[in-house]
């Protein structure tokens, strides 16, 4: 490349796998590599950051009780808050995302993913729960006003087999989803620039005269 390389885009990979090693982590790593490759083919340098929720389980329980993320969890929340794009991968527990995964989403600033491209993915023992992506993951991120890419990636145990059909189908879905995410990344200004354009109420509060006027219709 002869043109100056633009700053790398930060893609945060959130994984809620519990076992060691976990198929959720495995899928997250596959997706991460695919996003880097898809970014490279579009001239977008990708910098990966992994958030492993298993390591934050205790902090998450504390945050539910105290109302604030402490220690390393705060760093994880800040990491997601500064992401250019997010890859979110959860195991399916009892017909939905896992409680650990949802607990993490619950401690995020509800504004932190507005307009952020998100790739949703899930793992489970069977293919029967694959619509979890559509009835749980997608609405969750839609609520947060994230931009969820059309292809969600679901990997059941059988998808990890080496057979021609199953294995290659998973590869295709991973590449397609990563490509969709990279397309969005390539077309968006960097998160830092977008966030800089939003008004921080601590920096620029609504002037009191406006507060009073909207509420009582009275002039000061």
């Amino acid at each position: 490349m002869t043109t100056p390389t633009p700053a790398a885009r930060k893609v945060v990979v959130v994984s809620a796998g519990l076992s060691q090693p976990s198929s959720t982590r495995l899928l997250a790593d596959r997706l991460a590599s695919a996003v880097v490759a898809a970014g490279a083919s579009r001239g977008v340098a990708v910098e990966l950051e992994a958030v492993e929720l298993r390591d934050r389980a205790h902090d998450l329980a504390n945050a539910l009780v105290t109302g604030f993320p402490a220690g390393d969890l705060r760093a994880a929340v800040d990491t997601v808050g500064s992401a250019d794009a997010v890859v979110a991968v959860t195991p399916v527990f009892t017909a939905s995302y896992s409680g650990l995964f949802k607990s993490f989403v619950d401690v995020l600033d509800p504004e932190s993913l507005v307009g952020v491209p998100v790739l949703v993915a899930a793992t489970a023992g069977t293919a029967r729960h694959s619509l979890v992506l559509e009835h749980a993951m997608r609405p969750l991120f839609s609520y947060l006003r994230a931009v969820v890419v059309p292809t969600g990636v679901y990997a059941a145990s059988e998808d990890w087999g080496v057979g021609d059909s199953a294995g290659s189908a998973l590869d295709e879905r991973i590449d397609r989803a990563a490509g969709e995410l990279a397309d969005l990344l390539a077309g968006l200004p960097a998160a830092a620039a977008r966030r800089a354009a939003t008004v921080d109420p601590y920096e620029e509060p609504t002037a009191f005269a406006d507060l009073l006027q909207q509420h009582s219709g009275q002039q000061l």
Partner: protein
């Protein structure tokens, strides 16, 4: 610098003996704690206001009136007065009455209240929390400063030719703090009026409150009440002390572990690292709180929560002895050292009355004299109203 205590007024089981005080015991314990605060040389007692179990203080002026009758020096305050669900007219009347009975030893801290069902119980809606706080306080502010008020707002029935009685003692309304844990709008409100801002920082890390207080200070200056470092800031805190720090930790941990709000969550060590909770020797408490101004600037009022987590009355009284004898005298000295001369004390009835008189004698309607001692100030529309009234 004022030091005091604030009480939530919760009825909480003592986890070490499984005993839950009755409401009667808790109410009497709260007033006993207030008397003790005066006895050990603290400046302020502030009661919470709640309208649901397990809390007892639903009627703050009844309690504070009783305490006023049996104390001489203690400033009686609230933490907080619900500006959202109380009628501002009734707040104006109740606290002016208390002010007369307590010879001016009264101020208030406005708060919104975060218990959703309390709003409909009083005919309100929590989604209107900020509008209620803004509009109700604006009316309250006028009721204390204008003898006859015509009012029409969005959220309360209109008033025509209404006079709130009794009028504030000496024509000087009680000083008001605005308490908030998260809302920039409330910091803006406190700054606009030149009122105090109390950051109730006891449950969250300091970084959040630094932003809120910085905003309040900056806007206080913007509205012409003085420089940012002259803004009137209050902070919360919670402590548990024994002569030896390991004794404090051993005694307090069973209370901490199951306490309402943070119990069954982080460890005592994690929570003390993240919040102002300090469990240890008096010296550890002194060191921690002497350092607060490094995070928040020189401030005017420090309130401690001591009767929490189901601690028995006897223990709370011992805590107050330690606070009054060993901690606060040292903190007063340490915080006075290096405090710039232009940083004001928290306004009191006496200081506001003196400032008002000085301003009236000097230049009616201008208030420049008052601004120099930082307790009153001059050039917002709201202050002009006040000056007109008091110099009438």
């Amino acid at each position: 610098m004022q030091f005091g205590i604030f009480s939530v007024g919760d009825v909480t089981r003592d986890p070490t003996n499984d005993r839950t005080p009755t409401e009667a015991e808790r109410i009497k314990a709260m007033v006993t704690i207030a008397f003790k605060a005066e006895e050990v040389g603290l400046d302020v007692f502030a009661t919470g206001e709640h309208h649901n179990p397990p809390f007892v203080p639903s009627s703050p002026t009844t309690m504070l009136g009783f305490i006023a009758a049996r104390t001489e020096r203690l400033i009686l305050s609230t933490a907080t007065t619900l500006i959202t669900t109380n009628d501002p007219v009734k707040i104006a009347e109740d606290y002016a009455m208390l002010q007369h009975l307590a010879d001016g030893r009264v101020d208030l801290m406005m708060g919104r209240g975060n218990t959703a069902p309390v709003y409909p119980w009083f005919g309100q809606d929590i989604r209107n929390g900020i509008p209620l706080a803004i509009e109700n306080y604006h009316l309250l502010h006028r009721l204390w400063r204008e003898d006859v008020v015509d009012w029409e707002g969005r959220l309360r029935t209109p008033l025509q030719s209404f006079t709130s009685t009794p009028r504030p003692l000496d024509g000087v309304p009680p000083f008001v703090w605005h308490g908030s844990i998260r809302s920039p709008e409330i910091a803006e409100q406190a700054a606009y009026y030149g009122d105090g801002f109390f950051a109730n920082n006891i449950f969250w890390p300091k970084e959040h409150f630094q932003r809120l207080i910085e905003l309040y200070r900056r806007r206080y200056e913007h509205y012409g009440h003085g420089s940012a470092d002259q803004a009137i800031v209050g902070l919360g805190g919670q402590v548990f002390m024994r002569a030896r720090s390991q004794d404090a930790v051993r005694e307090f941990r069973p209370y901490f572990d199951v306490a309402p709000v943070y119990g069954h969550g982080p460890s005592l060590e994690e929570f003390t690292a993240e919040t102002p909770l300090t469990v240890g020797s008096p010296q550890q408490v002194i060191d921690r709180y002497a350092g607060m101004r490094e995070h928040f600037g020189d401030y005017q009022r420090q309130l401690f929560l001591v009767d929490h987590a189901g601690l028995p009355l006897k223990t709370v009284l011992e805590q107050l002895d330690i606070l009054g004898e060993e901690v606060v005298p040292v903190l007063r000295k340490e915080l006075a050292a290096g405090r710039p001369a232009h940083v004001p004390e928290a306004p009191t009835h006496a200081s506001m009355k003196a400032a008002r008189n000085a301003a009236a004698a000097d230049a009616p309607g201008e208030g420049s004299e008052a601004a120099t001692d930082g307790t009153e100030s001059g050039d917002t529309a709201a202050d002009e109203v006040r000056v007109e009234v008091v110099t009438r």
